[in-house]
Symmetry: D2
Subunit: 349 residues, 4 copies
């Protein structure tokens, strides 16, 4: 990225990353380091301190920023925009003072994704402590809510599975009334589980292995249902099963959509093509093509593939994203770009 010759008038914002020692925080940090409109001015975490280049030696010679123990006052002084890469239930206590001080906040946790706090409380096992700011939070899925994001100061950044699921299903859900019980068979790489020291994420437990987990009881299912239902204008339940892939990054969803009245493959393809025609980060495969995780890894793209049963009544939609990029930090940067009036793809292509 050669920013040398850019004009003096290039608008820049001062950005901080909270939770930089986790995989999502690290990814945000890496993307922001290469962003022409960003000066990284603050990095913090709850349990890790020291030079970012020591926590992640990949940043050796690339940044002198030191990860601090989080201090809300320091964050307010040093940042215009802040990315929160905190565990679920921790964002709630941090968001109110940051918003009050006028910062733009992008929360990558689940804390502000549910309009109904009872749903949140059921699935995340924690009372919601900041209902006040809930109404201010805009769900940061630009393909559906770009106009709202433009005017927002506060983004609830979508979960990784919901991003892949909603983008893959939206064109059908938004336009068809004859949809039966949707099945989402979702597979994710290991970074989606976070950078936790637990035996279940030990290399030898995951390597050469594959399993379903939280079968029909994953906390991302209600998030998906909430936004699909809004899109459909009626309750849209899904059967969601998550699986753990033995790879670092990437999600691939295979989604089965029964259509009572049938559709042709060309109609299906045209529907998707139109729906996403202006989108810089959604790539519809030509008929016959199928998304692969390696084609979206380390990118902000969501790739989509289409297939149809012989009787034309079962559409199979596949969608692939990088869970850390379009499924988290990349989408957060995309949201920042929209909020701040930057080029939407800056720092991402």
């Amino acid at each position: 990225m050669n920013n040398q010759l850019q004009e003096n008038t290039l608008k820049t914002v001062r950005v901080g990353v909270l939770g930089v020692s986790g995989y999502v925080g690290r990814e945000a940090f890496a993307l922001l380091l290469g962003h022409a409109n960003v000066r990284l001015t603050y990095a913090a975490a709850n349990n890790t301190t020291g030079p970012v280049s020591q926590i992640f030696p990949e940043f050796l010679n690339r940044t002198s920023l030191v990860c601090q123990k989080f201090d809300v006052k320091e964050a307010i002084t040093k940042c215009d925009v802040i990315f929160l890469g905190l565990p679920h239930t921790e964002s709630m206590s941090v968001v109110p003072p940051l918003l009050k001080a006028g910062l733009k906040v992008i929360d990558l946790s689940a804390d502000y994704r549910f309009k109904n706090t009872r749903v949140y409380e059921k699935w995340y096992g924690h009372r919601h402590a900041d209902k006040k700011n809930l109404s201010k939070a805009v769900y940061g899925l630009p393909e559906l809510f770009r106009e709202k994001i433009k005017k927002a100061d506060f983004i609830a950044n979508p979960g990784c599975y919901p991003t892949a699921s909603i983008l893959g299903l939206a064109p059908l859900i938004a336009t068809r009334k004859d949809i039966g019980a949707v099945v989402i068979d979702a597979k994710s790489g290991v970074s989606g589980a976070g950078r936790k020291a637990v035996v279940g994420l030990h290399f030898c437990e995951v390597n050469e292995n594959f399993k379903a987990y939280k079968v029909l009881c994953h906390q991302h299912a209600p998030e998906i249902e909430q936004y699909l239902s809004r899109l459909a204008g009626r309750s849209t339940p899904v059967h969601f099963v998550a699986h753990l892939l033995p790879l670092t990054r990437g999600i691939l969803n295979t989604m089965y959509v029964p259509l009572a009245e049938g559709i042709t493959l060309n109609q299906l393809h045209t529907l998707y093509k139109k729906f996403y025609k202006m989108e810089p980060f959604v790539r519809l495969h030509p008929l016959g093509g199928q998304p692969e995780i390696k084609n979206v890894a380390n990118t902000n793209f969501c790739d989509i593939g289409l297939a149809l049963s012989a009787d034309k009544k079962m559409a199979v939609i596949t969608s692939a994203i990088d869970n850390l990029v379009k499924g988290a930090a990349g989408q957060a940067v995309q949201n920042m770009n929209i909020m701040c009036g930057f080029n939407e793809v800056e720092g991402l292509i």
Copy 2:
């Protein structure tokens, strides 16, 4: 393998493996090498010759057998039982003389799995050249056809995906009349694709990658449908999507079975427990447990897990096998054990 007090009169057979240089042939060879009732007397392939311990140095100091260019007369002279690990369409020309000479034959290709040759010809793109022996072939899935296998001389060994699919679905398919459109979301390790020199199986194309392939048009779908339909007593179509996992061995299927009249989780669990209660190689997980590929890798087990939607109308069945063992060579050995009157688990546990 604790064979404790085996009789002096231990019966042995002379066994040959054809296609030993492929992954299925190699696996059969390895299992037979440790089998108490087997003397490996013949190994052959079409394009590779030389000591087996040179083709696969893991057999160094373990066998002095030399892989020959296949010769049907030599096979007949040297073997009582022969395993055919050949590419599809090649078994057909080899089977007739072997059967005629009185050998017991276990064919691991798809050539004799379809009763209807038109289905075979449609999916494998080749005219069937040995319809005569088709009626003699018994489909070698012991859990469903053990009595027929006992009397058989010729086994059509099931495909890997069909083994995992049929074992996972059989209890429901055999007993319920209210089943809707079944979805089989299948994921396989790379050895399932064979030991071919093609760019698509290059390490860098598969590693850190995941994709669906042959979406709704995989040749194992009609094999699954044939045997499920026989079991159900009526046509039982499935929506089958295969995926390629970045690991060497193992299949995990996630299967979605809509039940119009609903079921409780306990009923579902009891149904499976009864169905498989005498089976040495099917392991039903306790409620809440889920199969994982690493628990069946290098074994002949098929592990099964059960889950149910809140409305009790969508059962999610997961099944896991090692595609090279229960999905191919191990099941072939199990079939040989049954045919020859050996202990069914000999060489396999």
Copy 3:
């Protein structure tokens, strides 16, 4: 495992595994489960209890043994032989009562590998609490100490790197006086680090990664030096660098041995062939062949390859083992077989 015509009088021993919830303990348990002369009667761990088939569902339907909180009295009552798969420094407190009660003990930790407790204390950072039994411990490397093992009641089972290193170097070290500074460039799979919940062993930290660690300061270096020095009859220091491979099991060492007086490749090969000619678990590759981890994974073999520089003065010896089998539990079973008068390869081939 072809045990053919075993006698009616088959001798069996009752065996216990302490530390069964770790990778080494699990491996010992798996091997012993298939051992013709063994009845597994006791499994224990310090922090994990419950059915072994629940801790490791791969044992579902294969064992009903329940992992207990370790109790020395119970172990003494239930076992003739006990395998200790404990963290270093913990074996010392368990060994004395077990030996006193007359059990045969195989300790897989480092606690009794050093004749000089100062070396142990320097490298393991812990005072040695049982010097008394140190002299009873026989270093369990059968290829060098088989006769002593036959008469022993107590085995200090070698470390994984030392097994691969000493077996690879022994023929040269034992016979040549012109050896210069030996370099051991060692690479190990992740299971060698144990089943610990630490971020450094998280899948995403190890996958697609490779690094050297404990460069020139690994605790296995003094173990290697002690036994090479004994073999050489003089101090034999080595330059040892460990590396972490992104795979589950296996070690491959590349060892550089300068020979002041030179040697021919044929002489080198003959030297190794003679040295290991009667060994069931050491496989010397033909000239030109090289060991690979996949050929020894899940086996008790140590494979060795040889190469020589053009000037004949630098021998490059490569050795490969499975760190959990020949590098730990398999070698322990081999030692038990020798101590108990069983067939040395029982349960291992």
Copy 4:
């Protein structure tokens, strides 16, 4: 990369990639696509044609360039600079007309790396057909030959192992006269072997495996020796052993350098720090730190770590690069930047 606001005067060159269907060509294509001073105007290969976004769907929506069957006239018309990602021995027939037409040429094969064609012919098994242009070729290792590269029109881009080896050894080799027999224990990811359809690179042959190959007879050894000897001012042979890592990209070398007169660790560190102090792409780890492949993957960095034996007479130097970036396409872009007067890091950080 936001190039929008860049000045009208931004110098651009038209660039072509020959051999775009291989891993090195693909990597060059990807890097050039994000380069502010480059217009990609031509892509070609010998055996693959069609849209680049079809050959590699990761480029979907990112390029409309179509890969052509190579035509030298078209290349000359369309390009100012050309990258040759061809198999060894094929560049020789392509280079003469391109140079003659005045293009700047960066050859990523080995064809022009050896000043002595006898050495080339011995190791690559092919007569050298273009000795005339050999003297024009500058070895494209900027850290050693930047001034020559500035004036060059023709670059022989270094091999991957030589880049990691020479950068890791240069400071010692250039300054010390007391160096003994150097050992280079080199480990590379699979992409280094190219995108070939051969069984040895099949996923199942490489996954969960590790081996040494071409032990003491790898064709990169003479390349390393040639440039180390030039640096030392005397013949500098090395003992080089290559190994294949089960990962896609990255090289880590562990190098053992005997120093007759000894050195302190601080002296060693200072020596390296000074040698590379102005280099944008060489990162010396602080004492105690060690390079890891994951920290350089997908970057143009070469990371270096240092250790020393207790007697101060054996230095252990570790170096890590991405074999496709600093070991091939990234270094080629760096060379182009230097040749064309662009910012040296453009397109690379």
